[in-house]
Structures are given as structure tokens and as C-alpha cells.
């Protein structure tokens, strides 16, 4: 097994964002690091199928996502129970600005369906284009776009973030009309 220095550097360079992605998927740092390790092992074992010049990071994200998916299917309930453990591990930073807000954000993100969460993180944080995210998730570009939109809408609802302007008054008006106009 031999990696060229540039391939190894590219793999190591992807590790920080792979970890961040893995944590957002699993909600658990230890499991995330195990996922990253397993991803690197698979990548090295299958390095011949990597095409030089293509995006190493996207290739590794694809492997990691597939690993998580197969694991997730096996232990769905358990995975959903681990939501709070990462937020818990961050309580040792009392001076951190907006700490409570971030914990709420993490908890809300963890409640999203897995396909929406991964789409949002890939596009909104990991810096992938819609096309790259679609390739990583093995779905259509339009599917990624709609998952990202649904993820944002649901997060905003869960976090009661203002800015849903046409929802508020419209909703209220409709409620009044519905109440008044009943029968």
C-alpha cells in the first residue's frame, strides 16, 4: 500500500471538514472520529479507484456518507438518541458568545431528517456546490435544492427565527377568517 505524498496530504487536508460533517451526521464526536477513521481506511484500500485530479474531498465525503448510511440503517433508534451528546461536550466553554443559541441550533439540526441535514451541511457549511452535493448524496441536483430549502424552513420554524414575514400576518389573517367564517 503506497500513497503519494500529495494524495496523503489531500486526505489529511480533508480530515477537519470530514470530522465536522461526521459530527453533524452522528451527533457524537467519538462515533464521528470512528467514521472518519473507517473512511480513511476504505479510501486507502480503494485508492486505485480515485481519479487523480478530481476532488479528493468530495470522494471522501461520499465514502463517509455511505458508511454512515449503512450504519444508520442498522441502528436507527440508537443514533437518534445521541442527539445531545455533542452539545453536552461543549458546555465547557462558558465564555463562548451565543453559546445557548448554538446549543439550540445543534439540537434543532439533529431533529431534521438525515437527508435534509446532510444536504444543508454539505451546501451551507462544507462549501460544496449543489452539483457536488448531489454527486455525494447520489441524487438529482433538484432533490438537493429542495432538501436544503426544506431544511432551512424547518430549522427556522423550530428556532422561531424571524423573517418568515409572509407567513405571520397571512397565517393570522387566515386563522381569523377561518374562525369568523366558520359555518
Amino acid at each position: 500500500m503506497s500513497l503519494t505524498p500529495s494524495v496523503r496530504d489531500a486526505m489529511l487536508g480533508a480530515v477537519p471538514s470530514l470530522r465536522a460533517f461526521a459530527i453533524s451526521l452522528s451527533g457524537n464526536v467519538d462515533r464521528a472520529d470512528d467514521l472518519v477513521q473507517e473512511t480513511l481506511l476504505r479510501a486507502v484500500a480503494n485508492i486505485d479507484s480515485f481519479q487523480p485530479g478530481t476532488n479528493m474531498s468530495a470522494w471522501l465525503f461520499t465514502i463517509l456518507r455511505n458508511l454512515f448510511r449503512s450504519e444508520y440503517r442498522k441502528r436507527r433508534r440508537e443514533v437518534e438518541d445521541t442527539d445531545g451528546s455533542y452539545a453536552e461536550s461543549l458546555k465547557s466553554h462558558p465564555e463562548q458568545e451565543g453559546r445557548v443559541e448554538m446549543q439550540e441550533f445543534r439540537a434543532a439540526l439533529a431533529k431534521l431528517p438525515a437527508d435534509q441535514r446532510e444536504a444543508l451541511v454539505l451546501v451551507g457549511a462544507a462549501g460544496f456546490s449543489y452539483e457536488e452535493a448531489a454527486a455525494i448524496c447520489e441524487c438529482a441536483v433538484g432533490t438537493i435544492k429542495s432538501r436544503v430549502n426544506r431544511a432551512r424552513t424547518r430549522l427556522a420554524e423550530m428556532l422561531s427565527i424571524d423573517g418568515a414575514e409572509d407567513f405571520g400576518p397571512d397565517h393570522a389573517t387566515r386563522a381569523i377568517l377561518a374562525a369568523g367564517g366558520h359555518r
Partner: protein, 59 residues
């Protein structure tokens, strides 16, 4: 990230400010992990895998 189509926007309920706020929180969460860099275990792992002599011999 301006991907929304003006004509189709009416369907989405989320305003621009809300999107910006969510995006910012998402990146803060993500970058917090990224800023931790590469934990030693991964550096060690790749070096070990890369040594032909020890390939599978030690454990």
C-alpha cells in the same frame, strides 16, 4: 449564495435575514470542529498505512 428564482420565491416562506442567520449559525458550528485541525490519530494512521514494510505485519 443567490440561487433563488424571484418568480418562484413566493412559495418559500423564509426571508433573506432568516436564511442569513441560519447560514451563519451552521458555519459557526461546522468551523468550530474544522478549527480543531487534524487529530494525531489520523496523521499516525495514514503514516502507518503508508509504510510498505509494516503492512499488516504488526497487528
Amino acid at each position: 449564495m443567490q440561487t433563488e428564482m424571484p418568480t418562484k420565491k413566493a412559495r418559500g416562506r423564509l426571508g433573506r435575514d432568516a436564511q442569513a442567520k441560519l447560514g451563519q449559525q451552521l458555519r459557526v458550528m461546522f468551523d468550530e470542529v474544522v478549527s480543531e485541525g487534524v487529530p494525531d490519530r489520523f496523521d499516525v494512521l495514514l503514516r502507518r498505512l503508508d509504510e510498505p514494510k509494516e503492512d499488516g505485519a504488526t497487528e
